[in-house]
Amino acid sequence: MSVFDGLVGQEMAAHELQVAVSDAQLVLGGQAGPAMTHAWLFVGPPGSGRSLAARAFAQALQCQEGGCGQCKDCLDIANRTHPDVVMTEPVGVHYGVEDVRELVAQASGSPIRGRWRVFVLEDADRLESQQMDWKPANVLLKAIEEPAPHTVWILCAPSLQDVIATIKSRCRVVSLRTPSASEVTEVLITKYGAEPELAAAAARISQGHIGQARRYVRDEDTRNRHSDVMNLPASLTTLDACIEAAAQFVETADERMKDSVKGRDTQEREDVRQVYGVGARGIEARGVAKALNDLEKTQKRRAKRARSDAVDLALLDLLSFYRDVLMVQWGADVSLINKEFAAQLHAAAAGASPEITMRRIEEVLRTRATLSGNAAPRLVLEALFATLRDPAVAH
């Protein structure tokens, strides 16, 4: 049993990483190990398992058995409690300069318990930001150029184009691919015990995104949210229905966001209180108010991002709906993503021309781009739904 077994459809990448792990042993012994290096860039589309691959690599580097998945090192890494493996993600839309500086400072130390200090940066594409004057990327660049002897950086990004060239050129690239629907289906059945039919639907609807597929299989709310999106287009008959639907959409995203941040927020508040030694009725130590205040700001930023991620997921579902409508209109309805919703798809196909469907697809894509900025989600969705109702207003 190896941690690399958990990576679905990534045999090539897994092999490459295993070679690096055995060369890493040589490096620790003072020998040359050309397959091991200090900076890695894992690229693959969302859902291809970038984070899982990064975690497996970190486990394999720290573990005495090369990634058994069972020992204390492996388990602590899986639980994010290993002192030598730091996994970070941007709390807001982008990484902040201070956050990166702090990471770089941590990276200059030597391992505390393990063999390496491993730093995993999720969404390394969000290092690059004009608003931040490119600073976060530059701070990191220096650290990657002159790494401490036992520090390993693992950057994750959706594609090579998304990463600033200077960083890219200093990293060894590992490409992950989107697993096929049948690979995902099989994992859902064998590993998570899903019914074959549900597993197949989940694999199709999540389009290779394993995390999503797993949620679809396990969680009824996720399935309900998906079917809500499938029923949305037909409901957009009046403007009143459009603004109602937008309000509903944002509300659903809020709920989803709360689910994803709730436990963590409370835990972090507790942690701060612990650090400052504050009991519920004790006298508050100096600085605790500020620390809690800073934390609240961070949590707010994170909540905002989680909410926009949730809106985006729903928009992707909507996109898959119109994609299917187009397939029906072209008479290619053998490969529908949302096969279970054939009635809705056929009704929508009969009610519009392929050209109008294309315009609707364009509008959804445009909205996704707009929402990656700071625009008010509710207003942007109102405009989208009013346009989906009658795409003629876009011209």
């Binding site: 009046t238 459009c242 809020d254 905002k304 707009t370 900025g373 942007v380 405009a383």
Partner: protein, 346 residues
């Protein structure tokens, strides 16, 4: 004799109900001042509704080692869907505060305490969704402070009362003049009252002339004036109003939010049943009756397609004013022109 004000001893539970912020802040200050009057070391906690869990309230109510007095201010209760413009501010935490039933029961029981040493102040916005809980909280001996948005007369009464508390005699026409000049904004009014009393020497009565010269040159055109002009189809007037609003400190996002709010009302009004009495129809679509009356007048000239185009222009402008690279004023002006065109295109 000194004029030093002594705040009354605060109750165990105060419910501050309504959305008027200034009044709510004052209600909180009154409780805090009362508690501090009894014990200068009073510990004041400000928490959000979500943090008032059952374990938290048990700890607040458990006997203290330090026998200290404590005020616990709980914000964000009874937020509902009808949060109007503020709803669009994506910074606002999406808390729709409601409390655990056990917490409510503990608060109700605590409200009956004589000589309490823990004073809860709950800020309740009283949106529809939170009503049931508010009624449950009132079951004990809570003190309820009404902070709902005043009526027209409420604003003039507020001004009159402000001057009384500032010990400043005024002529009877002053409150009307102030509301006309400063607008229906209690914070602005309170600030102006304080400023006027400070600026004008304390002999004789403060009169209308003093108020007018105080406000002279200050043009208070807020974002809603832009919306009124746009919806009436007067692009020129809307552009002038935009310049004035921006000069007066209105931000791009505030303007797009205000316009979005007005267009939503327009859409709601278009679906309000005509055959029903006004109040009933307004309630049906989630508007107040004056909002429905106004929006119905504005509806002439706005076809559904024109409104859809307007929403697109608004969303685009909102993205632009929040992006770093674009001149916000230009983005707003462009939006105003597009809105005007949308209406004409029908």
């Amino acid at each position: 004799m000194t004029t030093h004000k002594i705040a009354p001893a605060p109750p165990a539970l105060t419910l501050v109900v309504g959305t008027e912020e200034l009044l709510a802040d004052r209600a909180v200050s009154l409780v805090v001042a009362g508690a501090r009057g009894m014990d200068p070391q009073t510990d004041v906690r400000d928490i959000s509704a979500g943090d008032l869990t059952f374990p938290a309230i048990q700890e607040f109510l458990s006997p203290s080692l330090f026998s200290e007095r404590r005020v616990v201010v709980v914000r964000g209760l009874g937020m509902g869907r009808a949060e109007e413009v503020a709803d669009d501010d994506d910074e606002s935490a999406p808390a729709s505060g409601s409390l655990d039933d056990r917490v409510v029961a503990a608060l109700v029981a605590h409200s009956k305490t004589d000589e309490p040493d823990v004073h809860f102040v709950l800020l309740h916005r009283n949106a529809n969704s939170g009503r049931g809980q508010l009624n449950a909280l009132k079951k004990g001996k809570a003190t309820v402070t009404d902070c709902k948005t005043p009526t027209r007369k409420g604003y003039t009464d507020f001004v009159a009362a402000e001057f009384v508390s500032l010990h400043r005699p005024i002529t009877p026409d002053v409150p009307e003049t102030m509301v006309a000049a400063a607008g229906r904004d209690l914070r602005a009014l309170a600030a102006a009252c304080g400023q006027l009393s400070a600026d004008y020497p304390a002999k004789g009565r403060l009169d209308r002339q003093a108020v007018e010269s105080f406000f002279a040159g200050r043009v208070e055109v807020d974002a809603f004036a832009i919306a009124d002009a746009i919806l009436a189809g007067d692009t020129g007037k809307a552009l002038v109003a935009t310049r004035q609003a921006i000069a007066g400190g209105a931000t791009g996002p505030a303007i797009t939010a205000a316009l979005a709010f007005n267009f939503r009302n327009l859409i709601k009004a278009s679906s309000a049943p005509r055959a029903m009495p006004l109040e009933q129809a307004a309630a049906e679509v989630g508007l107040r009756d004056w909002q429905l009356r106004k929006a119905r007048q504005q509806l002439t000239g706005w076809s559904p397609d024109a409104v859809a185009r307007a929403l697109r222009a608004l969303a685009e402008a909102d993205a632009n004013v929040k992006g770093a690279a674009v001149d916000a004023e230009y983005a707003i002006e462009l939006m105003i022109i597009k809105l005007g065109r949308a209406r004409r295109a029908g």
